[in-house]
């Protein structure tokens, strides 16, 4: 049990580092995916103790679907930002309105 949680915590920290240190919006998005996956790993690890209702596993599936929707919308936004600014470095994008 605690092994899953430690692996999840490590993955969450790596995702956090990726989000804060990368200079490419797509890699920032990958860092967010790491954090989501760490959370899903915890859901699944605890879901082992719910054979009848499967709460952990069912909500892990919902979280995966939510992450997929997030990625679709975020990538569309990133492509729009690239069209506007010709860069996807989050540090170089200064104004929101155009």
């Amino acid at each position: 049990m605690s092994h899953f949680l430690i692996v999840g915590a490590a993955l969450f920290s790596i995702g956090l580092y990726t989000v804060f240190s990368r200079k490419n919006a797509i890699l920032v998005l990958i860092g967010i995916e790491f954090m989501l996956n760490a959370a899903i790993l915890n859901l699944v690890a605890f879901g082992r103790y719910d054979r009848i209702d499967n709460e952990g596993q069912v909500f892990a599936i919902f979280a995966i679907v939510l992450a997929a929707a997030t990625v679709a919308v975020a990538l569309a936004i990133i492509i729009n930002v690239y069209k506007q600014y010709k860069t996807i470095d989050p540090d170089k994008i200064k104004d929101m309105k155009y």
């Binding site: 899953f4 956090l16 899903i40 719910d50 054979r51 599936i61």
Partner: protein
């Protein structure tokens, strides 16, 4: 069995570290693919086979392909480094990455502290679940059970999330379309 768990966890964490420090974005995305596959293996070790298959279908089949497409649409120099065979190894330490390293380590320390402080073997809910036979042992057909639960007990969240997914995909298609000049 536990050896395989540690091998999978090691592959996963190593690939995640490579994604975090690599300068080559294309390789980073392919390592992300490896992370997701290793995660699916870990889900199987948590006896959640349906979640593992969903992970491979949705993440490895959909999300990674989307990311590679977005990368190709935005980064013109993406594949140049690989084609030139340039040695672009990861730089492990950069001075301006120090705050993020410290923050990540601090978060990890707090999480580790919480995980080690709790005595997971003696939690009341765990004893209740084991006593009631509510623990997954790996001999049941969990896919059937998950499917029945999804369509009865969790029908409302299921329908809500399907409408949400439709809305998100229509929104993404609307955002990503070419802007017409009229």
């Amino acid at each position: 069995m536990t050896a395989i768990f540690y091998i999978l966890a090691g592959i996963m964490l190593a690939a995640a570290c490579y994604v975090a420090v690599s300068r080559d974005i294309a390789r980073a995305v392919f390592c992300f693919f490896g992370v997701l596959f290793a995660m699916a293996g870990l889900y199987i070790f948590a006896l959640a086979d349906f979640v593992a298959v969903t992970q491979i279908l949705v993440y490895a089949g959909g999300v990674v392909v989307l990311m590679i497409f977005a990368l190709m649409l935005t980064d013109k120099q993406l594949l140049e480094n690989i084609r030139r065979g340039e040695s672009s190894g990861p730089r492990l330490f950069r001075a301006r990455a120090l705050p993020s390293i410290l923050l990540a380590l601090a978060v990890f320390a707090v999480l580790l502290q919480v995980i080690t402080a709790v005595d997971w073997g003696n939690m009341a809910w765990r004893h209740e679940a084991v006593a009631a036979g509510n623990r997954i042992t790996g001999h049941e057909n969990m896919v059937e059970n998950v499917g029945v639960n999804l369509m009865t007990r969790y029908l409302l969240p299921f329908e809500v999330i399907s409408v949400f997914l439709l809305a998100a995909l229509i929104g993404a298609a609307y955002l990503a379309r070419g802007r017409t000049n009229n």
